[in-house]
């Protein structure tokens, strides 16, 4: 999932300072799971904003709403009525959701979270990066552990000289991805595979070729047909 963390309150206070009536919008997808921007966080942030305005002797009305999904225009449409009543919106969705809201409403939309990475839950309250969306998945040759996202240098052919007791040279808190890959290859009994040279990566599918887009002709076409029929 996409992970996020709430922005510092001071930054959000700064964004909304010029406005008297705002809407805080959450998202019921990834940011709910990582406890950064779901219904609960919308409530907490809204209370904090109200409290701050009272303390500062300012007038501020805060509306709250949480969408099922903020990265989809069909859901964002549901904000039409609320958006018409406010001066600005604070979105607690990931960057994709924030941009979808901003694209649909002609009032300022501010981020209430910092979008972090595509990660998985390691344990209660801990999420860690697992994928960089390189567009050409190599997990099949690296034992199910991604060197692009999990090696600090995104090395393709094995650990650098900085691996010490299985930890990365940048921090004792970071596992060496290539140590994990090696352990896994040994576990699977396919450690000889390590010696196959992995060619220099083509970064175009990773974003080097400009902003990326998926066009599923089958789905895109069926939507047009449905609309035509309607």
């Amino acid at each position: 999932m996409i992970t996020a963390e709430q922005k510092p309150l001071q930054e959000i206070f700064g964004y909304i300072a010029p406005y008297e009536k705002i809407l805080v919008v959450g998202c019921n997808e990834c940011v709910t799971v990582c406890a950064a921007g779901g219904r609960k966080e919308v409530g907490l942030l809204s209370s904090a904003l109200r409290l701050h305005s009272v303390k500062a002797g300012k007038k501020l009305e805060v509306l709250e709403h949480t969408l099922e999904r903020q990265c989809d225009p069909e859901y964002v449409d549901q904000l039409k009525e609320l958006a018409g009543q406010v001066d600005a919106i604070v979105s607690l969705a990931c960057g994709c959701g924030i941009q979808t809201v901003a694209a649909q409403y002609a009032i300022p939309v501010f981020p209430g979270v910092n979008t972090k990475f595509m990660g998985a839950s390691e344990s209660q309250g801990i999420w860690a990066e697992r994928c960089m969306g390189c567009g050409d998945c190599m997990l099949g040759v690296t034992g199910g552990i991604c060197p692009v996202a999990r090696c600090s240098k995104s090395l393709m052919n094995g650990p650098c000289g900085g691996n010490s007791s299985g930890k990365c040279e940048i921090s004792e808190d970071v596992d060496c991805a290539w140590q994990l890959i090696w352990n896994r290859l040994v576990e699977l009994g396919i450690q000889d595979r390590y010696e196959e040279l992995v060619a220099a990566k083509d970064w175009r599918p990773a974003g080097g070729g400009g902003p990326r887009k998926i066009i599923r002709e089958d789905l895109a076409a069926s939507k047009i047909i449905t609309e035509d029929m309607a």
């Binding site: 000289g161 040279l197 060619a199």
Partner: protein, 307 residues
């Protein structure tokens, strides 16, 4: 001969090679490069010029190499994939060769986290193994990494690093094998302090016949003090410093520790001269270049061969 590299010629002559290094200044002072090079020039077959070592900004390795080349010496330019993508690397390789450099070392480079610009975006477009392959294809196939032909390709003698002490140990020979398969000509190893472990690694290298395909220069660093030894043990990634090294330095008076460090390095070189597969030494006398002559003489490697 693949290249005009003096290091290649010395190795081909069957004699033990000696290289050392110069860290360029954190400024534009040409004299610093010249002074350091002058201290070691008669005692080595090639001089590494580091490339933003420990991710700290320094004068570029190719500029430093040019100064050293103009002195009539033999620079070995280091190149890290941390700071440049493949376009910049290849363009720098063409430029370096055009300026007279013919020997280089392909490295991934310390992570920016260590240096004075931890906020920089690390590049790592390709890894050191793919860099070796790229430089080899430029030389032997006359092709850029993207596939186009090069008019007048650069003929680089290609080096890389190996760290026999990093984990996992059982993978370290395989990693060398990958560098050999990619086309590396010579290896400069990480500083060796755990000589037993290095010999174990070397034996595996020889057993696989890799020493027939790549010239391995053993990395030597004299300890200046007990403090340096303790610092390297605890703070420098990928270092293996056994307690006996610490104990031996601790066993002499503080003012004698430098002398003891030199003695230890010389003994180590004498021991490794007998190690099968070792084709020479790479002396990393960190900010202590003036000791290189004493080390080379002490190890019986002076004078250097005329090739």
């Amino acid at each position: 001969m693949k290249t005009e590299s003096r290091l290649e010629k010395v190795l081909a002559s069957g004699q033990l090679a000696v290289t050392s290094e110069v860290g360029p200044p954190r400024g534009c002072n040409v004299d610093i490069v010249k002074e350091k090079a002058n201290l070691i020039k008669d005692y080595v077959d090639g001089i590494n010029i580091t490339d933003n070592q420990t991710a700290m900004v320094r004068m570029s390795s190719i500029a430093g190499g040019t100064i050293i080349k103009q002195m009539g010496l033999d620079p070995i330019i280091q190149m890290v994939s941390r700071d440049r993508n493949r376009l910049a690397m290849q363009s720098d390789i063409l430029g370096a060769y055009a300026l007279g450099m013919n020997t280089m070392l392909c490295l991934s480079g310390d992570h920016p986290q260590f240096g004075d610009h931890p906020m920089a975006k690390p590049v790592y477009d390709i890894d050191s193994i793919n860099m070796i392959k790229m430089v080899k294809d430029m030389r032997d196939e006359g092709k850029f990494q993207g596939g186009a032909d090069i008019t007048e390709p650069p003929k680089m003698f290609i080096g890389a690093a190996a760290n026999p002490f990093a984990d996992p140990f059982e993978l370290r020979v395989m990693r060398l094998a990958k560098k050999v398969a990619a086309g590396v000509d010579f290896i400069q190893t990480q500083c060796i302090f755990n000589t037993d472990k290095f010999e174990t690694w070397m034996k595996q290298v020889v057993d696989r016949g890799l020493d027939q395909k790549v010239a391995i220069l053993a990395g030597i660093t004299p300890m200046k003090s007990l403090g340096m030894a303790k610092y390297m043990k605890s703070k420098v990634p990928g270092m293996d410093i056994p307690d006996e090294v610490i104990d031996r330095l601790a066993g002499v008076a503080k003012e004698k520790q430098a002398e003891e460090g030199i003695k230890m390095a010389i003994e180590q070189m004498q021991r490794l001269k007998e190690c099968k597969g070792v084709k020479g030494f790479h002396i990393m006398a960190i900010e202590w270049e003036q000791k290189v002559p004493e080390l080379v003489k002490g190890a019986g490697l002076y004078p250097r061969p005329q090739v």
